[in-house]
């Protein structure tokens, strides 16, 4: 499962020029040592950490400890990951689009109409796409893996002029 998920991630990031493409993404596991808790995230109590692994568009894996109730947009931003939240997390822009590990997707609460409406505008929508600002951490998500799609659009006619 881990394998196919990584492959899916690589497909998503195809359009991005990669400077250090890892040969085997799974071996590049980073633990952020001292995350800066700025913004809207909380520091988990010892023993209550919920682990999330972000997979960046370059294939890097970054594991972070999170606190119940915090959402993926805030978590990503607090850890300086490349995720914009143009509407500030109000489910009105789709710039926080993430792809959830299919193994965990069904453990999330279903997206509501508002989220689905915005997801319909996301680049490279997949079966397990979600809006980061709408996904909150809970205990049963411990170990969840989240891919950050490349924030570029498809090539357009003007690119070939």
């Amino acid at each position: 499962m881990l394998r196919t998920f990584s492959r899916q991630v690589l497909q998503v990031s195809r359009a991005v020029p990669r400077t250090f493409r890892p040969v085997a993404p799974a071996t590049r596991l980073f633990q952020t040592s001292a995350p800066v808790f700025h913004g809207h995230v909380h520091k988990p109590k010892p023993g209550e950490e919920i682990k999330v692994t972000f997979i960046t568009k370059d294939g890097e894996q970054i594991e972070v400890d999170t606190c119940e109730g915090d959402n993926l947009l805030d978590i990503a931003q607090a850890n300086n990951l490349d995720m914009e939240g143009a509407c500030g997390g109000s489910c009105a822009c789709s710039t926080c689009h993430v792809i959830v590990d299919p193994e965990y997707y069904d453990k999330l609460e279903e997206p509501d109409d508002d989220e689905n409406d915005m997801l319909d505008l996301a680049f490279g929508l997949t079966e397990t796409s979600r809006l980061g600002c709408q996904v909150c951490m809970s205990k049963d998500l411990d170990g969840i893996r989240i891919a950050l799609p490349a924030m570029t659009r498809n090539l357009q006619a003007s690119d070939f002029n």
Binding site: S90, C93, T95, L121, T152
Partner: protein
């Protein structure tokens, strides 16, 4: 090796970048470039005394959450590496050639400044109003502060085009006043809407339902408006759509399902109740042919004549097009809003594609010596803020790659050399002073801000 690279980069002079237009494209390009090339200095030129472009003057007042992108724009504006010069029109106050001489890179992100035209007789009558003019008016753009649309005597309105801008206009016309009262709509527009007699809004598109340009969130909002009634489709055409819809991709099939649901509700509505509601409809396969003036009132029109179309996919591009059937229909209407797209205008000395009305570029590179484009002026007038953001990141990447490759080398002095053109410029701090005034006026009226919609007043307050 690493050492020598570092050594070289400290020798390299600071790249100076000029950005023309402080809308989403300008800000997002700057935002990304500062991340990719932290030692860049950016000057942001904006023709209005106020920043944010269509995030201020386009996005509907009842969509405040969309305007949260301004928080990121403020981060850019507050960054010590960025200088804002409001009230400076490039190509007018400041020649673009001066920017090319004094900067390593010039980013053209000046958006759109005019309207696409239908090109039909009667289009220039006063009762035919472009979407851009109307939207600018209710959003406090100083260019259209005096539009004053005669809503107090218009009962039936036709909007040509069915993109999200058309739906914004329909929603503003149909919304109960209390939906707008505590938004940042201008007081002037709010007072005019109070007197509005509009009871029937027709949204007219030249192609079919499956080619609709609106997106689902916006059509859902219209369906959900209180005290309004969607006018159900006549049977025949609707059944064809239903028969086909199962095979469409997720976004389209969700739209079709939604419309199906509300169409059914509309059919089941008690006619006596329906007659008490403001009505709106989606009219398809109609191309405007001529507008007939109202002989009794020059501010209004009388009739819109439209040709019925049928769908064709003839040009080989995969795009579904239309062909006239030869049948025409007449629609009585008091006002017409043309919402068929904004359009860009050329800047002297910069290549421009007149047909597409864009600055042609290759991933944002307009020339190979430091001119770039981003946003609507690069891609045409479509795309939400997320699209404009992604596109601007592409342009920033191109600039960054060119800086790294040494293509833009050379010591440039940027705005230090342009003081004679910048004497009347508004600084970021002055804009923030004006904004504080807008907020305090808004507080008094129970809204997020009361926009100043007149350049002379803007300048006066900003310079106090």
């Amino acid at each position: 090796m690493i050492r020598s690279v570092r050594h070289l980069s400290t020798l390299r002079s600071t790249p100076r970048v000029a950005v023309v237009g402080a809308g989403p494209a300008g800000f997002y390009t700057a935002h990304r470039l500062l991340k990719l090339q932290p030692d860049t200095k950016i000057d942001l030129f904006e023709s209005l005394p106020v920043p944010y472009g269509l995030a201020r003057h386009g996005v509907a007042p009842d969509h405040p959450e969309v305007k949260n992108c301004q928080d990121t724009f403020d981060e850019v504006g507050n960054d010590p590496r960025v200088q804002f010069f409001g009230n400076v029109t490039v190509g007018d106050t400041l020649p673009v050639s001066k920017l090319r001489d004094n900067y390593n890179a010039v980013v053209l992100s000046y958006g759109t400044h005019t309207d696409r035209k239908l090109g039909i007789p009667g289009e220039d009558l006063p009762g035919v109003i472009s979407a851009r003019t109307f939207v600018n008016w209710y959003n406090g753009h100083p260019e259209h502060e005096s539009l004053n649309p005669p809503l107090h005597k218009a009962e039936t309105v036709t909007i040509v085009g069915n993109g999200n801008v058309a739906l914004d206009i329909a929603r503003i016309l149909l919304s109960p006043l209390d939906h707008l009262k505590s938004t940042d709509i201008t007081q002037q527009a709010y007072e005019t809407l109070k007197t509005s007699k509009v009871k029937r809004v027709r949204i007219m598109a030249r192609r079919g339902l499956l080619e609709s340009a609106f997106t689902i969130k916006e059509i859902r909002e219209l369906f959900k408006l209180p005290d309004t009634g969607f006018v159900a489709f006549p049977h025949t055409k609707w059944d064809d759509v239903l028969a086909a819809h199962k095979s469409y991709k997720r976004p389209l099939s969700r739209i079709v399902k939604l419309i199906e649901e509300y169409n059914l509700k509309a059919k089941q509505r008690d006619p006596a109740h329906a007659s008490t509601l403001k009505q709106w409809s989606l009219d398809y396969l109609l191309s405007p042919k001529e507008v007939i003036a109202n002989p009794d009132d020059p501010e209004l029109v009388k009739t819109l004549i439209a040709t019925e179309n049928k769908l064709v996919s003839a040009d080989g591009s995969g795009r579904i097009g239309v062909e006239p059937t030869g049948v025409t229909e007449s629609f009585d209407t008091d006002l017409i809003f043309t919402s068929i797209g904004y359009a860009s205008t050329p800047l002297e000395g910069i290549p421009f594609d007149d047909r597409k009305s864009v600055i042609p570029s290759s991933r944002g590179r307009v020339t190979d010596n430091g001119v770039y484009a981003a946003g609507w002026v690069k891609n045409g007038p479509t795309g939400v803020i997320a699209t404009t953001m992604a596109d601007s990141f592409d342009t920033a990447q191109a600039i960054s790659d060119d800086i790294t490759a040494g293509k833009l080398d050379g010591a440039k002095s940027g705005s230090d050399n342009l003081t004679q053109y910048l004497e009347d410029a508004i600084s970021w701090d002055q804009w923030k002073k004006l904004e504080a005034h807008e907020h305090s006026q808004g507080d008094a009226a129970g809204k997020p801000r009361e926009k100043v919609n007149n350049v002379a007043k803007m300048l006066e307050i900003a310079r106090q």
